[in-house]
């Protein structure tokens, strides 16, 4: 388990570094796919099988494809021009490092930091429990419906914004 986690973590972090530094945007999007696949493996390690599969369906099947399409639609030639990072990139790097240090410091002072995982009750089916939680009136049916409204709004908005009126 620990070995699997470490390999996945290295893959995720290395891919994420490539996403933010790669000059070729299609490569960046493909590295994003690799990082997101690693996150799906983490979900599987955490016994969240449903989320792992949904991660692959949504992020790799839809979002990454959308990114690749957008990259191809917003350039005149297939070549990359200019540097990938702006002039102040070292300030950004410094801020990011500070954020990481701050987060690590905050978390390490938290009492539950090195907690080991809770026992799953025997016969517990996370998928059906999740389904119940999403549609049960005394759980999350309202946020769930609001999320669906948000998706419809985003769909209509995206079509309206990107529509070419001629």
């Amino acid at each position: 388990m620990a070995i699997l986690f470490l390999i996945t973590a290295v893959v995720i972090l290395a891919s994420a570094m490539m996403v933010v530094t790669s000059r070729n945007l299609v490569h960046a999007a493909l590295w994003l796919v690799s990082a997101l696949f690693g996150v799906a493996v983490l979900y599987a390690l955490l016994n969240a099988g449903f989320l792992a599969v949904v991660q692959v369906v949504i992020y790799i099947g839809a979002i990454a494809i959308l990114f690749i399409f957008a990259v191809m639609l917003t350039r005149r030639e297939m070549r990359e021009t200019g540097p990938g990072l702006n002039k102040n990139w070292w300030v950004s790097a410094l801020v990011s490092l500070l954020v990481f240090g701050g987060l690590a410091f905050l978390l390490s002072n938290w009492s539950g930091f090195s907690q080991t995982s809770a026992e799953l009750p025997s016969g517990f089916d996370a998928v059906s429990a999740l389904g119940d939680a999403l549609i049960s009136p005394d759980a999350f049916v309202l946020p769930f419906e609001v999320a669906s409204v948000l998706l419809v709004t985003a769909l209509v908005g995206a079509v309206y914004i990107a529509f070419n009126r001629k």
Binding site: L30, F50, I65, M72
Partner: protein, 400 residues
């Protein structure tokens, strides 16, 4: 434990005994045995794939009133081996300006997206890779990886036609994913589980094709679109984009795409059989043993594959705007209506007997089909009158 009742388990226990007998760690031995099992499954699939080439060529020949390969070996059975040798000794080209890593990764991903599907195929109650409780979503997720492989192939080839073909194919796959997911939800609602084994088991009495013929049809149509086969083979329309996303691939790299496509079609035939035609159930014949059950599943997969070939060699290619309009304006609403009616009836008739339930489901599907056909007929009549009205008037003006 009898070998014939559970051959895989017996073999695994035997192998693990041998490995631990050599002084190997128990966990390592288990991992090794699982790995060998995966290797065995993939080998069987690849050998099967070789013969799928022969089957496809023979069947298309029959559809077109030809004989097909018949020179090499009995009934031309050795022909696919000759094809493979030809593909292997061909020059392996990489176009100028191609993105080498992505270019070489794409055929592998394409083949992989098909092979990983077989991890959840229940060949028999005791013969399946893993019984995921999100099995049907896994099927969709594997399709997502296939989509990615196609766009990688199209982009990295550094060829306009390849990119256009990939765009078309990906647009079709992404949009036909929606009716496919909705059609997959119908067996889920009926069986109350997303696991492939549970769905197979739930069809012991009545196959789901009788409960939801429209669902089976929608799944077949969206599977054909997902496969990119005719009538939805816009990605490789010869007169438009030459060969689509695999235009620049030669030799065995093209072979991977080709073999992947054939195996994909066979696999979707198999899923059609499992989800709607009872899986390994065939009038109690599956009780003879797991090997018979596996043979039943493979036979159903071959039948499904034959239906997909039948469609491919009968219908002609349609235009891309027609294809997308067909999906968004017809297939998606229809599949949603079928799903809602199925879920409603399933809840209302929870306590009814199998036959009442089956009959009412079948009749509701027939009613939906009839209403759909009536609406389509009305629409086409209105369209025709709009087109013919001016023509008729002009004709009368000439006659007077």
């Amino acid at each position: 434990m009898n070998f014939w009742n559970d051959p895989l388990k017996v073999a695994a226990v035997w192998l693990e005994g041998i490995f631990t007998g050599w002084g190997m760690d128990a966990v390592l031995a288990h991992v090794l045995v699982v790995f060998l099992g995966v290797l065995l499954l993939i080998t069987i699939l690849m050998v099967l794939d070789i013969f799928l080439v022969w089957i496809e060529r023979k069947v298309v020949a029959r559809f077109q009133d030809r004989i097909g390969p018949n020179r090499l070996g009995p009934y031309g059975l050795m022909q696919p081996f000759a094809d493979i040798i030809k593909l292997i000794i061909k020059e392996d080209t990489t176009p100028d300006g191609a993105d080498k890593v992505v270019y070489n990764l794409a055929p592998i991903l394409s083949m992989m997206s098909v092979l990983i599907l077989w991890a959840i195929v229940p060949l028999a109650p005791v013969m399946l890779g893993v019984d995921l409780n999100v099995g049907l979503l896994y099927l969709v997720a594997a399709g997502a990886i296939g989509t990615l492989a196609i766009i990688m192939a199209g982009w990295s080839s550094n060829n306009k036609f390849a990119l256009l073909g990939a765009f078309r194919q990906v647009a079709a796959m992404v949009s036909y994913e929606i009716p496919m997911v909705v059609a997959l939800l119908i067996p889920t609602v009926l069986a109350g589980t997303m696991g492939m084994l549970g769905i197979s088991e739930a069809q012991q009495g009545l196959w789901y094709v009788f409960l939801s013929p429209l669902g089976a049809l929608i799944f077949l149509v969206s599977a054909v679109a997902e496969l990119g086969r005719s009538p939805f083979d816009l990605s490789e329309g010869e007169s438009e984009v030459v060969a689509g996303f695999h235009i620049e691939y030669s030799g065995m790299k093209f072979g991977w795409f080709y073999a992947g496509e054939l195996l994909h079609a066979f696999t979707f035939g198999g899923f059609w059989g499992i989800l709607f035609f009872g899986g390994y159930h065939f009038f109690g014949l599956e009780n003879l043993g797991p090997l018979v059950a596996a043979a039943i599943v493979l036979f159903k997969a071959l039948l499904g594959y034959w239906v997909i070939m039948w469609i491919k060699y009968t219908l002609m290619r349609i235009r891309i705007d027609h294809m997308l309009a067909f999906n968004w304006k017809f297939l998606v609403p229809l599949s949603l209506v079928v799903l809602m009616v199925t879920a409603l009836l399933n809840t209302l008739l929870r306590d009814a007997s199998t036959w009442v339930m089956g009959l009412s489901m079948f009749l509701s599907n027939a009613l939906i089909a009839w209403i759909t056909v009536e609406i389509l007929r009305g629409r086409s009549r209105a369209e025709r009158e709009k087109m013919e009205g001016p023509a008729q008037a002009a004709l009368e003006a000439v006659n007077h």
